[in-house]
Amino acid sequence: MNALILSAVWGIILMFCSILVKNKKAIGYIAAFGLLTILIGNIAETYGTQITHYNIYPMLLLDRFGLFFNTIAILSVFIFVLLSLIEIRKTGKYEPEFYTLIFFVICGITILTSYQNLLMLFLGIEILSIPLYILTGSDKKNLKSNEASLKYFLMGAFSTGIMLLGIALIYGGTGTFNLQPGTHSVVGTYHGISFLEITGLIILMCAMAFKASVAPFHFWAPDVYDGAPTPVTSFMATIVKVTAFLAFFKLCEVRVTDTLTAVNWKMIFAVMIVATLFIGNITAIFQQSVKRMLAYSSIAQAGFMMYAIFSLNDVAKEGLLYYAMAYSLATIGLFATMSKIKDYSFEGYNGLAKKQPTLAATNAIFLLSLSGIPLTAGFFAKYYMLASVIKTGSYTWLVIVGVCFATISIYYYFRLIQAMYFKTGNPDTIDHEITPFFKNMLIVVAVFIVLLGAFPQLLLNWFYF
Protein backbone atom coordinates (compact mmCIF):
# COMPACT_ATOMS: atom_id res chain seq x y z
CA MET A 1 0.00 0.00 0.00
CA ASN A 2 2.87 2.40 0.77
CA ALA A 3 4.11 2.52 -2.80
CA LEU A 4 0.56 2.86 -4.15
CA ILE A 5 -0.35 5.79 -1.89
CA LEU A 6 3.00 7.54 -2.23
CA SER A 7 3.08 7.28 -6.00
CA ALA A 8 -0.43 8.72 -6.32
CA VAL A 9 0.45 11.58 -3.96
CA TRP A 10 3.71 12.31 -5.76
CA GLY A 11 1.85 12.29 -9.06
CA ILE A 12 -0.43 15.03 -7.77
CA ILE A 13 2.51 16.98 -6.29
CA LEU A 14 4.30 16.91 -9.63
CA MET A 15 1.09 18.04 -11.35
CA PHE A 16 1.04 21.16 -9.18
CA CYS A 17 4.76 21.69 -9.69
CA SER A 18 3.91 22.82 -13.22
CA ILE A 19 2.07 25.78 -11.67
CA LEU A 20 4.08 26.43 -8.52
CA VAL A 21 7.71 25.70 -9.40
CA LYS A 22 9.24 28.34 -11.62
CA ASN A 23 12.73 26.82 -11.79
CA LYS A 24 12.53 24.35 -14.68
CA LYS A 25 15.69 22.50 -13.69
CA ALA A 26 14.38 21.62 -10.24
CA ILE A 27 11.49 19.49 -11.51
CA GLY A 28 13.58 16.49 -12.52
CA TYR A 29 15.24 16.44 -9.11
CA ILE A 30 11.89 16.73 -7.32
CA ALA A 31 10.69 13.69 -9.29
CA ALA A 32 13.87 11.77 -8.47
CA PHE A 33 13.40 12.61 -4.79
CA GLY A 34 9.80 11.41 -5.00
CA LEU A 35 10.93 8.11 -6.50
CA LEU A 36 13.42 7.72 -3.70
CA THR A 37 10.68 8.14 -1.07
CA ILE A 38 8.49 5.60 -2.88
CA LEU A 39 11.42 3.20 -2.98
CA ILE A 40 12.08 3.63 0.73
CA GLY A 41 8.36 3.30 1.49
CA ASN A 42 8.18 0.06 -0.45
CA ILE A 43 11.26 -1.43 1.21
CA ALA A 44 9.86 -0.41 4.60
CA GLU A 45 6.66 -2.23 3.77
CA THR A 46 8.61 -5.37 2.84
CA TYR A 47 9.82 -5.40 6.43
CA GLY A 48 6.43 -4.66 7.94
CA THR A 49 6.07 -0.88 8.24
CA GLN A 50 2.91 0.50 6.67
CA ILE A 51 1.44 3.99 6.40
CA THR A 52 -2.14 2.77 6.89
CA HIS A 53 -3.60 -0.55 7.85
CA TYR A 54 -6.51 -0.30 5.50
CA ASN A 55 -8.17 -3.62 4.77
CA ILE A 56 -7.70 -4.34 1.07
CA TYR A 57 -7.54 -8.10 1.25
CA PRO A 58 -10.09 -9.49 -1.19
CA MET A 59 -8.91 -7.09 -3.88
CA LEU A 60 -5.14 -6.79 -3.35
CA LEU A 61 -2.69 -8.98 -1.49
CA LEU A 62 0.82 -7.66 -0.92
CA ASP A 63 3.10 -10.67 -0.76
CA ARG A 64 6.87 -10.85 -0.73
CA PHE A 65 7.10 -11.59 -4.43
CA GLY A 66 5.04 -8.57 -5.46
CA LEU A 67 6.76 -6.20 -3.05
CA PHE A 68 10.17 -7.33 -4.19
CA PHE A 69 9.18 -6.81 -7.78
CA ASN A 70 7.95 -3.32 -6.85
CA THR A 71 11.38 -2.56 -5.46
CA ILE A 72 13.02 -3.69 -8.70
CA ALA A 73 10.59 -1.69 -10.83
CA ILE A 74 10.88 1.51 -8.78
CA LEU A 75 14.66 1.22 -8.70
CA SER A 76 14.65 0.85 -12.48
CA VAL A 77 12.43 3.94 -12.84
CA PHE A 78 14.79 5.84 -10.53
CA ILE A 79 17.80 4.94 -12.67
CA PHE A 80 15.80 5.72 -15.80
CA VAL A 81 14.89 9.20 -14.53
CA LEU A 82 18.45 10.01 -13.48
CA LEU A 83 19.77 8.94 -16.88
CA SER A 84 17.17 10.81 -18.92
CA LEU A 85 16.79 14.09 -16.99
CA ILE A 86 17.85 16.16 -19.99
CA GLU A 87 15.88 14.19 -22.60
CA ILE A 88 12.68 14.47 -20.61
CA ARG A 89 13.18 18.22 -20.35
CA LYS A 90 13.54 18.37 -24.11
CA THR A 91 10.56 16.13 -24.93
CA GLY A 92 7.50 18.24 -25.52
CA LYS A 93 6.54 21.29 -23.52
CA TYR A 94 5.23 19.79 -20.32
CA GLU A 95 7.98 18.30 -18.22
CA PRO A 96 6.13 18.13 -14.84
CA GLU A 97 3.21 16.33 -16.47
CA PHE A 98 5.62 13.82 -17.97
CA TYR A 99 6.76 12.87 -14.48
CA THR A 100 3.18 12.91 -13.22
CA LEU A 101 2.26 10.28 -15.77
CA ILE A 102 5.28 8.19 -14.83
CA PHE A 103 4.16 8.28 -11.20
CA PHE A 104 0.67 7.18 -12.23
CA VAL A 105 2.21 4.30 -14.17
CA ILE A 106 3.95 3.27 -10.94
CA CYS A 107 0.49 3.26 -9.32
CA GLY A 108 -0.59 0.77 -11.97
CA ILE A 109 2.54 -1.32 -11.38
CA THR A 110 1.84 -1.62 -7.67
CA ILE A 111 -1.72 -2.74 -8.36
CA LEU A 112 -0.59 -5.30 -10.94
CA THR A 113 1.97 -6.84 -8.61
CA SER A 114 -0.60 -7.47 -5.91
CA TYR A 115 -3.97 -8.09 -7.54
CA GLN A 116 -6.17 -10.88 -6.25
CA ASN A 117 -9.21 -10.04 -8.31
CA LEU A 118 -9.64 -9.88 -12.07
CA LEU A 119 -11.27 -6.44 -11.78
CA MET A 120 -8.09 -5.19 -10.12
CA LEU A 121 -6.11 -6.73 -12.97
CA PHE A 122 -8.21 -4.72 -15.41
CA LEU A 123 -7.86 -1.54 -13.36
CA GLY A 124 -4.11 -2.00 -13.06
CA ILE A 125 -3.66 -2.60 -16.77
CA GLU A 126 -5.69 0.53 -17.53
CA ILE A 127 -3.78 2.72 -15.06
CA LEU A 128 -0.60 1.36 -16.59
CA SER A 129 -1.56 1.93 -20.23
CA ILE A 130 -3.53 5.17 -20.34
CA PRO A 131 -0.61 7.37 -19.21
CA LEU A 132 1.52 5.56 -21.80
CA TYR A 133 -0.80 6.52 -24.65
CA ILE A 134 -0.22 10.14 -23.67
CA LEU A 135 3.51 9.73 -23.07
CA THR A 136 3.93 8.16 -26.51
CA GLY A 137 2.49 11.32 -28.05
CA SER A 138 4.30 13.68 -25.70
CA ASP A 139 6.48 15.03 -28.49
CA LYS A 140 3.52 17.00 -29.78
CA LYS A 141 5.11 18.59 -32.85
CA ASN A 142 6.61 15.32 -34.11
CA LEU A 143 4.39 13.55 -36.63
CA LYS A 144 5.93 10.14 -35.96
CA SER A 145 5.23 10.49 -32.26
CA ASN A 146 1.62 11.42 -33.01
CA GLU A 147 1.21 8.45 -35.31
CA ALA A 148 2.69 6.07 -32.77
CA SER A 149 0.42 7.45 -30.07
CA LEU A 150 -2.74 7.04 -32.13
CA LYS A 151 -1.73 3.54 -33.23
CA TYR A 152 -0.95 2.50 -29.68
CA PHE A 153 -4.17 4.00 -28.38
CA LEU A 154 -6.41 2.29 -30.94
CA MET A 155 -4.72 -1.08 -30.57
CA GLY A 156 -4.58 -0.78 -26.81
CA ALA A 157 -8.26 0.17 -26.59
CA PHE A 158 -9.19 -2.89 -28.64
CA SER A 159 -7.08 -5.18 -26.52
CA THR A 160 -8.72 -3.73 -23.42
CA GLY A 161 -12.12 -4.56 -24.86
CA ILE A 162 -10.98 -8.10 -25.58
CA MET A 163 -9.62 -8.38 -22.05
CA LEU A 164 -12.96 -7.33 -20.56
CA LEU A 165 -14.74 -9.90 -22.70
CA GLY A 166 -12.40 -12.56 -21.38
CA ILE A 167 -12.97 -11.52 -17.77
CA ALA A 168 -16.74 -11.53 -18.32
CA LEU A 169 -16.62 -15.05 -19.75
CA ILE A 170 -14.50 -16.26 -16.85
CA TYR A 171 -17.09 -14.79 -14.52
CA GLY A 172 -19.74 -16.68 -16.44
CA GLY A 173 -17.77 -19.89 -16.07
CA THR A 174 -16.79 -19.73 -12.42
CA GLY A 175 -19.19 -17.23 -10.88
CA THR A 176 -16.44 -15.16 -9.31
CA PHE A 177 -14.02 -12.38 -10.19
CA ASN A 178 -11.46 -13.68 -7.74
CA LEU A 179 -8.13 -14.81 -9.04
CA GLN A 180 -8.55 -18.00 -7.02
CA PRO A 181 -11.30 -19.90 -8.82
CA GLY A 182 -14.43 -20.77 -6.89
CA THR A 183 -16.31 -24.01 -7.15
CA HIS A 184 -16.70 -25.31 -10.66
CA SER A 185 -20.19 -26.03 -11.89
CA VAL A 186 -20.73 -29.62 -12.89
CA VAL A 187 -22.89 -29.27 -15.98
CA GLY A 188 -21.83 -28.00 -19.40
CA THR A 189 -18.20 -28.70 -18.69
CA TYR A 190 -15.25 -30.20 -20.47
CA HIS A 191 -13.03 -32.39 -18.28
CA GLY A 192 -14.53 -30.78 -15.22
CA ILE A 193 -13.90 -27.18 -16.35
CA SER A 194 -16.62 -24.89 -17.63
CA PHE A 195 -16.07 -24.20 -21.31
CA LEU A 196 -16.83 -20.53 -20.65
CA GLU A 197 -13.85 -20.33 -18.32
CA ILE A 198 -11.58 -21.88 -20.94
CA THR A 199 -12.76 -19.50 -23.65
CA GLY A 200 -12.46 -16.56 -21.29
CA LEU A 201 -8.96 -17.51 -20.23
CA ILE A 202 -7.79 -17.83 -23.81
CA ILE A 203 -9.24 -14.42 -24.68
CA LEU A 204 -7.78 -12.83 -21.53
CA MET A 205 -4.40 -14.30 -22.36
CA CYS A 206 -4.56 -12.81 -25.86
CA ALA A 207 -4.98 -9.39 -24.25
CA MET A 208 -2.15 -9.99 -21.78
CA ALA A 209 0.10 -11.21 -24.59
CA PHE A 210 -0.72 -7.98 -26.41
CA LYS A 211 0.39 -5.88 -23.45
CA ALA A 212 3.60 -7.89 -23.14
CA SER A 213 4.10 -7.81 -26.96
CA VAL A 214 4.31 -11.57 -27.35
CA ALA A 215 3.79 -12.95 -30.87
CA PRO A 216 1.28 -13.16 -32.52
CA PHE A 217 0.19 -9.95 -30.78
CA HIS A 218 3.43 -8.02 -31.24
CA PHE A 219 2.61 -6.01 -34.37
CA TRP A 220 2.15 -2.69 -32.60
CA ALA A 221 5.45 -2.86 -30.75
CA PRO A 222 8.06 -1.95 -33.39
CA ASP A 223 6.07 0.99 -34.78
CA VAL A 224 5.21 2.38 -31.37
CA TYR A 225 8.69 1.91 -29.94
CA ASP A 226 10.17 3.50 -33.02
CA GLY A 227 7.84 6.50 -33.10
CA ALA A 228 7.75 7.32 -29.41
CA PRO A 229 10.31 9.76 -27.98
CA THR A 230 13.42 7.82 -26.88
CA PRO A 231 12.93 8.18 -23.09
CA VAL A 232 9.34 6.95 -23.42
CA THR A 233 10.46 3.98 -25.52
CA SER A 234 13.02 3.14 -22.89
CA PHE A 235 10.36 3.26 -20.19
CA MET A 236 7.80 1.25 -22.16
CA ALA A 237 10.13 -1.43 -23.40
CA THR A 238 11.54 -2.18 -19.97
CA ILE A 239 9.60 -1.45 -16.82
CA VAL A 240 6.12 -1.56 -18.29
CA LYS A 241 6.72 -4.69 -20.33
CA VAL A 242 8.26 -6.54 -17.41
CA THR A 243 5.30 -5.58 -15.22
CA ALA A 244 2.89 -6.89 -17.84
CA PHE A 245 4.80 -10.17 -17.66
CA LEU A 246 4.53 -10.27 -13.91
CA ALA A 247 0.77 -9.76 -14.07
CA PHE A 248 0.58 -12.46 -16.74
CA PHE A 249 2.61 -14.78 -14.51
CA LYS A 250 0.37 -14.17 -11.50
CA LEU A 251 -2.68 -14.94 -13.61
CA CYS A 252 -1.24 -18.12 -15.08
CA GLU A 253 0.17 -19.34 -11.79
CA VAL A 254 -3.36 -19.80 -10.47
CA ARG A 255 -5.60 -20.25 -13.47
CA VAL A 256 -3.42 -22.35 -15.76
CA THR A 257 -2.61 -24.80 -13.00
CA ASP A 258 -6.31 -24.98 -12.27
CA THR A 259 -7.39 -25.77 -15.84
CA LEU A 260 -4.57 -28.09 -16.88
CA THR A 261 -6.95 -31.03 -17.09
CA ALA A 262 -8.90 -29.39 -19.90
CA VAL A 263 -6.37 -27.42 -21.94
CA ASN A 264 -2.88 -28.25 -23.12
CA TRP A 265 -1.48 -24.87 -22.06
CA LYS A 266 2.13 -26.03 -22.35
CA MET A 267 1.69 -26.55 -26.08
CA ILE A 268 0.03 -23.14 -26.57
CA PHE A 269 2.80 -21.38 -24.66
CA ALA A 270 5.51 -23.35 -26.48
CA VAL A 271 4.14 -22.22 -29.84
CA MET A 272 3.97 -18.61 -28.62
CA ILE A 273 7.55 -18.77 -27.34
CA VAL A 274 8.95 -20.16 -30.58
CA ALA A 275 6.98 -17.62 -32.65
CA THR A 276 8.10 -14.71 -30.49
CA LEU A 277 11.74 -15.74 -30.52
CA PHE A 278 11.64 -16.34 -34.27
CA ILE A 279 9.96 -13.06 -35.22
CA GLY A 280 11.93 -10.95 -32.74
CA ASN A 281 15.36 -12.30 -33.56
CA ILE A 282 15.07 -12.81 -37.29
CA THR A 283 13.54 -9.39 -37.93
CA ALA A 284 16.06 -7.64 -35.68
CA ILE A 285 18.87 -8.90 -37.92
CA PHE A 286 17.62 -6.87 -40.87
CA GLN A 287 17.17 -3.54 -39.09
CA GLN A 288 19.28 -0.55 -40.06
CA SER A 289 18.18 1.68 -37.20
CA VAL A 290 19.44 0.87 -33.72
CA LYS A 291 16.18 2.05 -32.15
CA ARG A 292 14.15 -0.32 -34.31
CA MET A 293 16.64 -3.11 -33.69
CA LEU A 294 16.16 -2.63 -29.95
CA ALA A 295 12.38 -2.68 -30.46
CA TYR A 296 12.63 -6.10 -32.11
CA SER A 297 15.20 -7.21 -29.55
CA SER A 298 12.67 -6.36 -26.83
CA ILE A 299 10.21 -8.70 -28.56
CA ALA A 300 12.91 -11.38 -28.61
CA GLN A 301 13.58 -10.84 -24.91
CA ALA A 302 9.83 -11.11 -24.30
CA GLY A 303 10.11 -14.58 -25.81
CA PHE A 304 12.64 -15.49 -23.15
CA MET A 305 10.45 -14.09 -20.40
CA MET A 306 7.64 -16.30 -21.72
CA TYR A 307 9.66 -19.29 -20.52
CA ALA A 308 8.73 -18.30 -16.96
CA ILE A 309 5.06 -18.42 -17.89
CA PHE A 310 5.61 -21.74 -19.61
CA SER A 311 7.13 -23.49 -16.61
CA LEU A 312 5.37 -21.72 -13.68
CA ASN A 313 7.61 -23.09 -10.92
CA ASP A 314 9.84 -21.58 -8.25
CA VAL A 315 12.85 -21.29 -10.53
CA ALA A 316 10.66 -19.41 -13.00
CA LYS A 317 9.55 -17.06 -10.25
CA GLU A 318 13.10 -16.23 -9.23
CA GLY A 319 14.12 -16.07 -12.86
CA LEU A 320 11.40 -13.57 -13.72
CA LEU A 321 12.60 -11.21 -10.97
CA TYR A 322 16.17 -11.62 -12.09
CA TYR A 323 15.31 -11.18 -15.74
CA ALA A 324 13.35 -8.04 -14.93
CA MET A 325 16.39 -6.48 -13.30
CA ALA A 326 18.95 -7.60 -15.88
CA TYR A 327 16.89 -6.72 -18.94
CA SER A 328 15.60 -3.37 -17.63
CA LEU A 329 19.01 -2.05 -16.59
CA ALA A 330 20.75 -2.96 -19.83
CA THR A 331 18.00 -1.62 -22.08
CA ILE A 332 17.60 1.62 -20.11
CA GLY A 333 21.34 2.22 -20.44
CA LEU A 334 21.31 1.57 -24.18
CA PHE A 335 18.38 3.90 -24.81
CA ALA A 336 19.90 6.62 -22.62
CA THR A 337 23.09 6.53 -24.68
CA MET A 338 21.14 6.47 -27.91
CA SER A 339 19.39 9.72 -27.08
CA LYS A 340 22.81 11.41 -26.93
CA ILE A 341 23.55 10.37 -30.51
CA LYS A 342 21.82 12.23 -33.31
CA ASP A 343 21.86 9.46 -35.92
CA TYR A 344 20.05 6.33 -34.73
CA SER A 345 21.34 4.08 -37.52
CA PHE A 346 24.21 1.63 -37.09
CA GLU A 347 26.43 4.00 -39.10
CA GLY A 348 25.77 6.69 -36.54
CA TYR A 349 27.61 4.60 -33.94
CA ASN A 350 30.72 4.15 -36.11
CA GLY A 351 33.83 5.06 -34.16
CA LEU A 352 32.06 5.90 -30.89
CA ALA A 353 34.84 4.20 -28.90
CA LYS A 354 37.34 6.85 -30.07
CA LYS A 355 35.15 9.84 -29.35
CA GLN A 356 33.33 8.73 -26.19
CA PRO A 357 35.21 5.75 -24.69
CA THR A 358 33.04 5.60 -21.55
CA LEU A 359 29.80 5.46 -23.50
CA ALA A 360 31.12 2.80 -25.85
CA ALA A 361 32.54 0.63 -23.05
CA THR A 362 29.36 0.72 -20.93
CA ASN A 363 27.22 0.10 -24.01
CA ALA A 364 29.34 -2.91 -24.88
CA ILE A 365 28.60 -4.33 -21.42
CA PHE A 366 24.87 -3.68 -21.86
CA LEU A 367 24.89 -5.42 -25.23
CA LEU A 368 26.87 -8.37 -23.87
CA SER A 369 24.32 -8.65 -21.08
CA LEU A 370 21.39 -8.60 -23.50
CA SER A 371 22.95 -11.34 -25.63
CA GLY A 372 23.61 -13.46 -22.54
CA ILE A 373 27.40 -13.65 -22.32
CA PRO A 374 28.64 -15.07 -18.99
CA LEU A 375 29.80 -12.68 -16.27
CA THR A 376 26.94 -10.34 -17.11
CA ALA A 377 23.48 -10.35 -15.57
CA GLY A 378 21.90 -11.38 -18.88
CA PHE A 379 23.60 -14.77 -18.79
CA PHE A 380 22.07 -15.79 -15.49
CA ALA A 381 18.72 -14.31 -16.48
CA LYS A 382 18.61 -16.62 -19.50
CA TYR A 383 20.06 -19.46 -17.43
CA TYR A 384 17.24 -19.26 -14.90
CA MET A 385 14.62 -19.20 -17.65
CA LEU A 386 15.99 -22.29 -19.38
CA ALA A 387 16.63 -24.09 -16.09
CA SER A 388 12.98 -23.61 -15.14
CA VAL A 389 11.93 -25.46 -18.30
CA ILE A 390 14.38 -28.29 -17.58
CA LYS A 391 12.88 -28.56 -14.11
CA THR A 392 9.39 -29.19 -15.49
CA GLY A 393 10.82 -32.35 -17.07
CA SER A 394 9.15 -32.07 -20.46
CA TYR A 395 9.57 -30.02 -23.63
CA THR A 396 13.36 -30.16 -23.53
CA TRP A 397 13.44 -29.21 -27.22
CA LEU A 398 12.21 -25.77 -26.18
CA VAL A 399 15.50 -25.20 -24.36
CA ILE A 400 17.46 -26.09 -27.49
CA VAL A 401 15.36 -23.66 -29.52
CA GLY A 402 16.01 -20.97 -26.92
CA VAL A 403 19.77 -21.48 -27.02
CA CYS A 404 19.75 -21.37 -30.83
CA PHE A 405 17.90 -18.08 -30.87
CA ALA A 406 20.16 -16.63 -28.16
CA THR A 407 23.05 -17.42 -30.48
CA ILE A 408 21.32 -15.71 -33.39
CA SER A 409 20.75 -12.63 -31.23
CA ILE A 410 24.52 -12.32 -30.72
CA TYR A 411 24.79 -11.32 -34.38
CA TYR A 412 22.83 -8.10 -34.17
CA TYR A 413 24.02 -7.12 -30.70
CA PHE A 414 27.63 -7.57 -31.69
CA ARG A 415 27.07 -5.65 -34.89
CA LEU A 416 26.65 -2.56 -32.73
CA ILE A 417 29.80 -3.33 -30.73
CA GLN A 418 31.61 -3.80 -34.01
CA ALA A 419 30.36 -0.43 -35.25
CA MET A 420 31.52 1.28 -32.06
CA TYR A 421 34.97 -0.30 -31.81
CA PHE A 422 36.15 -1.54 -35.18
CA LYS A 423 34.74 0.94 -37.67
CA THR A 424 36.06 4.41 -38.25
CA GLY A 425 33.77 7.39 -38.33
CA ASN A 426 32.86 10.53 -36.52
CA PRO A 427 29.61 9.95 -34.61
CA ASP A 428 27.37 12.98 -34.23
CA THR A 429 27.02 13.12 -30.46
CA ILE A 430 25.39 15.86 -28.44
CA ASP A 431 28.54 16.59 -26.44
CA HIS A 432 27.32 19.25 -24.03
CA GLU A 433 24.68 16.82 -22.75
CA ILE A 434 27.16 14.07 -21.91
CA THR A 435 27.89 15.34 -18.42
CA PRO A 436 30.23 13.63 -15.96
CA PHE A 437 27.12 12.74 -13.92
CA PHE A 438 25.63 10.93 -16.91
CA LYS A 439 28.85 9.02 -17.52
CA ASN A 440 29.13 8.06 -13.87
CA MET A 441 25.54 6.83 -13.83
CA LEU A 442 26.23 4.64 -16.87
CA ILE A 443 29.31 3.23 -15.16
CA VAL A 444 27.28 2.49 -12.01
CA VAL A 445 24.66 0.64 -14.06
CA ALA A 446 27.34 -1.32 -15.93
CA VAL A 447 29.11 -2.27 -12.70
CA PHE A 448 25.80 -3.34 -11.25
CA ILE A 449 25.16 -5.60 -14.25
CA VAL A 450 28.59 -7.22 -13.92
CA LEU A 451 28.12 -7.68 -10.17
CA LEU A 452 24.76 -9.33 -10.72
CA GLY A 453 26.34 -11.56 -13.33
CA ALA A 454 29.20 -12.58 -11.07
CA PHE A 455 27.13 -13.04 -7.92
CA PRO A 456 23.53 -13.78 -8.95
CA GLN A 457 22.62 -14.63 -5.37
CA LEU A 458 23.09 -10.98 -4.39
CA LEU A 459 19.64 -10.15 -5.70
CA LEU A 460 17.85 -13.38 -4.92
CA ASN A 461 19.13 -13.79 -1.37
CA TRP A 462 17.63 -10.44 -0.66
CA PHE A 463 14.31 -11.74 -1.94
CA TYR A 464 14.26 -14.41 0.75
CA PHE A 465 15.49 -12.35 3.69
Binding site: I12, M15, F16, S18, I19, S185, V187, G188, F195
Partner: protein, 133 residues
Protein backbone atom coordinates in the same frame (compact mmCIF):
# COMPACT_ATOMS: atom_id res chain seq x y z
CA UNK B 1 -48.36 -18.45 -25.93
CA UNK B 2 -46.14 -21.36 -26.97
CA UNK B 3 -42.88 -19.37 -27.17
CA UNK B 4 -43.20 -17.83 -23.75
CA UNK B 5 -44.16 -21.25 -22.46
CA UNK B 6 -41.00 -22.64 -24.01
CA UNK B 7 -38.85 -20.00 -22.37
CA UNK B 8 -40.32 -20.41 -18.93
CA UNK B 9 -40.07 -24.19 -19.10
CA UNK B 10 -36.28 -24.21 -19.27
CA UNK B 11 -34.99 -24.79 -15.74
CA UNK B 12 -31.93 -22.79 -14.59
CA UNK B 13 -29.18 -25.40 -14.39
CA UNK B 14 -26.03 -23.38 -14.90
CA UNK B 15 -25.43 -25.09 -18.22
CA UNK B 16 -25.43 -24.06 -21.86
CA UNK B 17 -29.18 -24.47 -22.28
CA UNK B 18 -29.60 -21.42 -20.03
CA UNK B 19 -28.39 -19.34 -22.93
CA UNK B 20 -31.10 -20.62 -25.28
CA UNK B 21 -33.38 -17.58 -24.63
CA UNK B 22 -30.52 -15.27 -25.55
CA UNK B 23 -29.94 -17.17 -28.80
CA UNK B 24 -33.66 -17.05 -29.46
CA UNK B 25 -33.74 -13.32 -28.88
CA UNK B 26 -30.79 -12.77 -31.20
CA UNK B 27 -32.53 -14.87 -33.83
CA UNK B 28 -35.71 -12.84 -33.44
CA UNK B 29 -33.91 -9.52 -33.54
CA UNK B 30 -32.12 -10.34 -36.78
CA UNK B 31 -35.22 -11.94 -38.28
CA UNK B 32 -37.44 -9.00 -37.41
CA UNK B 33 -35.09 -6.39 -38.87
CA UNK B 34 -34.48 -8.41 -42.03
CA UNK B 35 -38.20 -9.00 -42.56
CA UNK B 36 -39.06 -5.35 -42.01
CA UNK B 37 -36.37 -4.04 -44.34
CA UNK B 38 -37.21 -6.48 -47.12
CA UNK B 39 -40.98 -6.01 -46.71
CA UNK B 40 -40.82 -2.21 -46.77
CA UNK B 41 -38.61 -2.37 -49.83
CA UNK B 42 -41.04 -4.64 -51.64
CA UNK B 43 -44.39 -3.23 -50.56
CA UNK B 44 -43.64 0.47 -50.03
CA UNK B 45 -44.24 3.12 -52.73
CA UNK B 46 -41.21 4.11 -54.77
CA UNK B 47 -40.95 7.87 -55.37
CA UNK B 48 -37.37 8.90 -55.98
CA UNK B 49 -36.61 12.63 -55.73
CA UNK B 50 -33.37 14.55 -55.43
CA UNK B 51 -34.31 15.78 -51.95
CA UNK B 52 -34.50 12.25 -50.66
CA UNK B 53 -30.92 11.55 -51.60
CA UNK B 54 -29.68 14.47 -49.49
CA UNK B 55 -27.97 13.81 -46.17
CA UNK B 56 -30.34 14.34 -43.30
CA UNK B 57 -29.19 17.31 -41.22
CA UNK B 58 -32.12 18.02 -38.92
CA UNK B 59 -34.18 19.40 -41.77
CA UNK B 60 -31.78 22.18 -42.74
CA UNK B 61 -30.16 21.90 -46.18
CA UNK B 62 -26.59 20.75 -45.60
CA UNK B 63 -23.76 22.95 -46.79
CA UNK B 64 -19.98 22.85 -46.69
CA UNK B 65 -17.56 20.07 -45.87
CA UNK B 66 -17.79 18.36 -42.50
CA UNK B 67 -14.06 17.63 -42.46
CA UNK B 68 -12.75 21.01 -41.45
CA UNK B 69 -10.46 21.70 -38.52
CA UNK B 70 -12.22 22.89 -35.38
CA UNK B 71 -10.44 24.79 -32.61
CA UNK B 72 -9.07 22.43 -29.97
CA UNK B 73 -10.76 24.55 -27.26
CA UNK B 74 -14.13 23.00 -28.05
CA UNK B 75 -12.79 19.48 -27.56
CA UNK B 76 -11.06 20.45 -24.35
CA UNK B 77 -14.18 21.94 -22.82
CA UNK B 78 -16.30 19.03 -24.04
CA UNK B 79 -13.97 16.37 -22.65
CA UNK B 80 -13.62 18.15 -19.32
CA UNK B 81 -17.38 18.42 -19.10
CA UNK B 82 -17.77 14.70 -19.79
CA UNK B 83 -15.09 13.88 -17.22
CA UNK B 84 -16.62 15.87 -14.39
CA UNK B 85 -20.15 14.91 -15.36
CA UNK B 86 -19.32 11.22 -15.19
CA UNK B 87 -17.57 11.61 -11.85
CA UNK B 88 -20.72 13.12 -10.38
CA UNK B 89 -22.52 9.87 -11.22
CA UNK B 90 -20.49 8.18 -8.46
CA UNK B 91 -22.49 10.18 -5.93
CA UNK B 92 -25.72 8.39 -6.83
CA UNK B 93 -24.75 4.95 -5.50
CA UNK B 94 -23.34 6.71 -2.45
CA UNK B 95 -26.59 8.58 -1.85
CA UNK B 96 -28.51 5.31 -2.09
CA UNK B 97 -26.24 3.56 0.42
CA UNK B 98 -25.65 6.62 2.59
CA UNK B 99 -26.78 5.03 5.87
CA UNK B 100 -25.33 1.60 5.22
CA UNK B 101 -21.82 2.85 4.49
CA UNK B 102 -21.65 4.94 7.65
CA UNK B 103 -18.63 7.03 8.57
CA UNK B 104 -16.18 4.89 6.58
CA UNK B 105 -18.15 5.61 3.45
CA UNK B 106 -18.28 9.29 4.33
CA UNK B 107 -14.49 9.50 4.68
CA UNK B 108 -14.07 7.68 1.39
CA UNK B 109 -16.40 10.06 -0.41
CA UNK B 110 -14.59 13.04 1.13
CA UNK B 111 -11.34 11.57 -0.18
CA UNK B 112 -12.87 11.08 -3.61
CA UNK B 113 -14.24 14.62 -3.67
CA UNK B 114 -10.95 16.13 -2.58
CA UNK B 115 -9.12 14.39 -5.44
CA UNK B 116 -11.86 15.64 -7.68
CA UNK B 117 -11.40 19.24 -6.51
CA UNK B 118 -7.61 18.98 -6.79
CA UNK B 119 -8.10 18.03 -10.42
CA UNK B 120 -10.45 20.95 -10.90
CA UNK B 121 -8.01 23.43 -9.33
CA UNK B 122 -5.32 22.03 -11.61
CA UNK B 123 -7.25 22.60 -14.82
CA UNK B 124 -8.29 26.11 -13.75
CA UNK B 125 -4.72 27.07 -12.80
CA UNK B 126 -3.30 25.52 -15.95
CA UNK B 127 -5.67 27.68 -18.00
CA UNK B 128 -7.53 24.84 -19.71
CA UNK B 129 -10.81 26.78 -19.53
CA UNK B 130 -9.28 30.07 -20.65
CA UNK B 131 -11.27 30.82 -23.75
CA UNK B 132 -9.64 34.07 -24.80
CA UNK B 133 -6.02 32.89 -25.16
Amino acid sequence: MPILQLLSDIPVTGSTTDYAPIALQLFFAIGFIATMLIASGLIGPKRKTADKLENFASGIPSHGDARQPIAIKYFLVAILFVLFDVEVIFFYPYAVNFKGLGWTGFVEVILFTSFFIIGFIYIIKRGALNWEE
